[in-house]
């Protein structure tokens, strides 16, 4: 039971809880307590330290900008305006708040606002769905498409869209990169003739990929019902992120251990069996390392592409908030920053678990 739960935790990437479990099961409580403190409490303490530094930094910046505003009012409009400005800032009025790095408290407040906003919007959506249920049923009978909610998306909807886009992009990358990687990994001639193309295209910036994809998709897709911006951003993400998988797959396939190839030769495996039973499993470690890099690159690129392509998602959320310039916009941007970071971290964790699950222990 204990070893099993420790194994599961380690598989999920929560290995730092191991000493706690050992401690409560009465195994060397003193030693495990100290390990737990070192492994868990110190990181928590460092989080606290981070918050303190952030808070004091934000306060310093706030005071600096407040003083500048007061000073500016004094220089331009005289003493009375300066006093009025000072009082205005102290009163917390929205019109004259300094617009700078938000403090942790403000970010937390912005997070709450976003959450409430989400609840409100999903409430509206439910009501809309109830209202249109009958009409939609009728329309479905007639073969018409249902009426959909077209209001403003909430923050969580944006996250969902981003995740959908990255899933589509990574799937595209997998379907392009792994077959090509296997083919060019198997043949030296093909690898040499494709190498220049890969080396040149690999460092191209996501922005350029986006423009290229835009050029092609714009001409190819004329159907107005299709979500063009989604297609463009998914394809661009896929194209930007697939190179790590492509290269790792081709390297993995071309460097399969000679012993395994000999086994395949002695057994006279057919080409298909050779690929699926020997070559692919033998190169899984490298392929999954490549996939992990692909996913993390895809997530990083996705935000930039959404920001540029104005397709819905976290990237455009950040950009809209920046353009918006409302009082809590900056705080919302920081919330988005943390969300992006945490999701990226979780994606990496998931890929690591998949990688551990799929690859064999080297004998």
């Amino acid at each position: 039971m204990k070893t099993k739960s420790i194994k599961t935790l380690k598989f999920l990437g929560l290995g730092f809880l191991e000493p706690l479990i050992r401690m409560f099961s009465g195994e060397e409580p003193k030693k495990n307590a100290s390990v737990f403190i070192k492994k868990t409490l110190f990181p928590i303490a460092s989080m606290g330290l981070f918050l303190i530094i952030w808070h004091s930094g934000a306060t310093a910046l706030y005071n600096k900008e407040a003083n500048e505003r007061i000073e500016k009012a004094r220089v331009e409009q005289g003493e009375e305006a300066a006093i009025a400005m000072e009082e205005c800032i102290k009163s917390g009025d929205i019109s004259c708040q300094p617009n700078t790095l938000p403090s942790p408290a403000q970010v937390y407040a912005a997070y709450k606002t976003l959450w409430n906003d989400h609840i409100e919007i999903s409430d509206k959506k439910d009501k809309f769905a109830q209202k249109t249920a009958k009409t939609n049923a009728k329309r479905a009978e007639k073969g018409l498409s249902p009426i959909e909610y077209t209001g403003r998306p909430s923050f969580l909807d944006q996250i969902g869209t981003s995740l959908k886009t990255i899933a589509a992009g990574v799937l595209l990358a997998i379907f392009i990169a792994i077959p090509i990687g296997i083919i060019i990994g198997l043949s030296d001639v093909l690898r040499n003739s494709m190498n220049w193309l890969i080396q040149i295209l690999k460092p191209v910036s996501p922005v350029v990929w986006l423009l290229l994809v835009f050029m092609i998709v714009k001409t190819l897709i004329t159907d107005p019902d299709l979500d063009k911006s989604f297609i463009i951003s998914a394809i661009s993400v896929g194209l930007c992120a697939m190179w790590a998988t492509l290269i790792n797959t081709s390297v993995g396939v071309s460097t399969v251990d000679k012993d395994f190839i000999n086994v395949s030769k002695v057994l006279k495996l057919s080409i298909g069996q050779n690929i699926f039973k020997i070559v692919l499993p033998a190169s899984f470690p490298l392929i999954f390392t490549g996939l992990r890099i692909t996913v993390s690159v895809a997530w990083m690129v996705l935000i930039a592409i959404e920001l540029l392509a104005q397709s819905p998602g976290l990237g455009s959320f950040v950009w809209e908030e920046f353009q918006n310039g409302a009082n809590d916009s900056n705080a919302k941007i920081i919330v988005a920053m943390f969300v992006i970071g945490i999701i990226g971290f979780l994606l990496d964790r998931i890929m690591l678990s998949v990688q551990n699950f799929m690859t064999f222990n080297k004998a």
Binding site: D259, F260, N262, V266, L267, K268, K277, P281, A282, F360
Partner: protein, 294 residues
């Protein structure tokens, strides 16, 4: 007619000045049901020789015949036990054996296949570890899986390329006995390549030494006439065993020595006079005079 025949086989690697003639003028014929051991120094081309028999490599001149027909490539009629086991680390013991069974007996039903696999895993005493991964096994157990995999193909010829050289002496002894026991059950033709003369005497019917390379060739054959099943401790006491062992070893050492004399390279040694250590001191420095401040 001999089952397997090598006629005037030569093999070299590289071209021009870096050309190394590994094997030269190898003639060998192996009868059906025979256990043959080829003994040689490491680096003498033993693995090249066995690779030409299993079809992974081809001779430059001469021919390798199986049933009188030249070998065109590897095939399941020649089961190979590799030196470094070559198990697929992502497959369990069962599936490693299944891979070869699937290839060689595609027509068997899944039940028959299962019985077949279990029979051979049982034969090498690994039934308790049938679902383990190779990384969970010891070296000896891995080599046993490799033996089971080769035997499950039901090959006409069993080729063993230094199968036990990576194992410790005790495991080696038990595995030698096990392989011979399995071999004696259905008397397949077996070729063992080894660098250990004792191993050859304990296991084989016939020992042929391979002279040291380059241009290695086969020496005179030595018959091993001990009754089977052989008991290692009893053979050790037998005076014939010592005689045979000494003959093989003497032959190998003798060719090794002549081979060394053949070398025509002369080493010109520098004309130096030996110096007793401790007399000459390099870079002798004058002793620094101590500065006295007071």
């Amino acid at each position: 007619m001999a089952l397997l025949e090598l006629r005037n086989v030569s093999k070299s690697y590289g071209v021009g000045s870096s050309k190394v003639e590994v094997l030269d003028n190898i003639n060998l014929s192996v009868e059906e049901g025979e256990f043959l051991a080829i003994v040689g120094f490491s680096g003498s081309g033993k693995t090249t020789l066995i690779n030409m028999i299993n079809g992974l490599d081809f001779p430059d001149s001469g021919e390798v015949l199986l049933h009188g027909k030249p070998i065109t490539g590897p095939g399941p009629d020649r089961g190979v036990i590799f030196q470094n086991y070559s198990l697929l680390p992502w497959l369990s013991v069962y599936k490693n054996v299944k891979l070869s069974v699937d290839e060689v007996f595609p027509k068997l039903s899944s039940k028959e296949k299962d019985a077949h696999i279990r029979k051979y895993v049982e034969m090498v005493n690994l039934s308790h570890a049938i679902d383990k991964m190779p990384s969970e096994l010891s070296g000896g157990m891995r080599q046993r899986v490799s033996v089971a995999r080769a035997l499950a193909m039901n090959p006409e010829v069993l080729l063993m390329d230094e199968p036990l050289s990576a194992l410790d002496a005790l495991t080696r002894g038990t595995l030698q006995e096990e392989i011979v026991k399995i071999w004696s059950q259905d008397k397949k033709t077996a070729i063992l390549i080894t660098n250990d003369v004792d191993e050859g005497i304990i296991m084989a019917d016939r020992i042929i030494p391979l002279t040291p390379g380059p241009k290695a060739t086969l020496g005179p054959e030595f018959q091993v006439n001990f009754d089977r099943p052989r008991d290692v401790t009893e053979i050790n006491k037998d005076p014939n065993y010592k005689k045979l062992r000494n003959n093989v070893l003497e032959y190998l050492i003798e060719v090794g020595a002549t081979r060394r004399q053949v070398s025509d390279q002369k080493y010109i040694l520098p004309d130096l006079k030996p110096v007793m250590p401790g007399r000459v001191v390099f870079g002798k420095r004058k002793k620094k005079e101590k500065v006295k401040y007071f």
